[in-house]
Amino acid sequence: MGKNIIEKIWDTHVVHHEEGKPDLLYIDLHLIHEVTSPQAFEGLRLAGRKVRRPDLCFATMDHNVPTKNLPTINDPIAKKQITTLADNAKEFGIQLADIGHPDQGIVHVIGPELGLTQPGKTIVCGDSHTSTHGAFGALAFGIGTSEVEHVLSTQTLWQNKPKTMEIRVNGKLGVGVAAKDIILAIIAKWGIGVGTGHIVEFTGEAIRSLTMEERMTICNMSIEAGAKAGLISPDETTVDFIKGRRFAPKDEKFEEASNYWLSLASDSDATYDVVLEIDADEIEPIVTWGTNPSMGTGVSKTVPTAADYESESDKHALRKALEYMGLEEGQPIESIDIQHVFIGSCTNSRLSDLRTAATIVKGKKLHPGVRGIVVPGSWSTKKAAEEEGLDQIFLEAGFEWRESGCSACLGMNEDTIPSGERCASTSNRNFEGRQGAGARTHLVSPAMAAAAAIEGHFVDVRKYVKQAQEV
């Protein structure tokens, strides 16, 4: 019987296997950022331990960093956290892309950009969106700070082998429908706990035809379906993306590596513990209306009503969410006015995301009363966008063009949404208070966010795309 990619990667990383225990797994790449690492380094110091493989670690600053007026950091506690990582990287000999460094950016954007992210690797980071790297056919998952410390000192982790799940996306995606809509539709259909205890492989025609950046968007949000990790088998698209990047193997080594990478793809007769299927052509642009990522629906639809749910607890959850969001049951999605637009985050801040949004806003103006910020995912993404003139398109439309970082996805820096105000956001979480205390977040694709910025409320971006095609 064939093996799926999850089993292949797992099996090649087991350092120690023993009945009744988790497996001891080797970790190939450890990404580090300033928020979830200080206590881990402190733990090493207190115990007199070293970093076992500093060469397999890579650190950057992203969660806390201001996206304007750099290098000034006004918040002294944030500043302390940032200098702590710089000191730790120096003390333990770890490569760091510090603020102002041309490699700096959101950790899940720079890993792939630099070619650190490669198929077949086990990749961890003290950040739940580490699942992003699964787009390359890597086994990548988020860990807590104690596990960060464990990886720093041993380069391994004790892990129970999760179950496997295939989510097959059949058919072709409609024009104006994005990778973001696929993953939001999956989460809306099966819920935020569907992947708990599982590693998900995304398969099917619609997935195969996606670019690497689109695949990253899908895998990024597999944690929002509760999955331990999400990944996509490598193919020529994957290999082409990696070729020539700084940390990618070169010349003959690259040929050898790419043959190995392609051999990791799931065998045609591979099986999974669970298989789910969805048709791409039934997916329309999605807007979330509630306080977790499963609370979303098509832009042409309405906010659900209590009658749509069977259990009392679901009805209760709906009412609680709508109370927080300031929405009415049955309200059309297109009638929801917005005051803020955030284009950024490890989900949707890559060059193709910025290009898509720029295409929509080109020659138009932000709707009066709407404030928009664009936060490229990395310093090099920003540079590339500027070379294409995307910054000018956004600035002329009235957006702010910022430095890279996590920014308003979680609002750890100054980029927050005021209480009671509404944001069309290309990020990944719409939890209560995520973008600021009392802030109301609607998750959408970059194209949908851009269209909402122009109209002042949600609109079906497919109309825009059709207009553009007719012109």
């Binding site: 190939d28 464990h150 706990g193």
Partner: protein, 196 residues
Amino acid sequence: MEPINKVTSVITPLDRKNVDTDQIISKEFLKRIERTGFGKYLFYHWRFDEKGNENADFVLNKPEYKGSQILVAQDNFGCGSSREHAPWAILDYGFRVVIAPSFADIFHNNCFKNGILPIKLTEAQCDEILAKGMKTPYSVDVNLQDQTVTGEDGKVYSFNIDPYYKEMLLNGWDEISLTFKYEEQIAQYEAKRIAF
């Protein structure tokens, strides 16, 4: 970490599903570089209003649950962000046990590293315990060795737990010290590891 075996306490009924780690510990409190002192920020935006006054309706603010060491919630507790500040806040506030029908994976792992016992009971059992605890203060004995939760009314709920993590919690072991015993195997693996 502190070993854990028996805990007897009134339960704190948090009748919500999908409690995410952003609610457990909000982002404005993640900038500290210590592991301790997060308890006062636990569930901050549910506990306090915008002026910093206590919300009398929120369960943690009700006097009958003060000093409780056992939190009971609904499905998918701890979903979202990997922040270990969430279990640090729970522990620092005084909870040693969290009972729910299911936990998000990263949060679940994080509990074991901090001497917090996460107990999975069925949805029906959690509903029952929550209902009792919301009506009047309801005390239970948790026994990790026996894998039981025994209510003051004599009702016994048994639970399963991974034997590896049970051992870790009962002994309060430092996992890194244990892993160092496999150093030779790690070195052997490194010698033949596939890397490009």
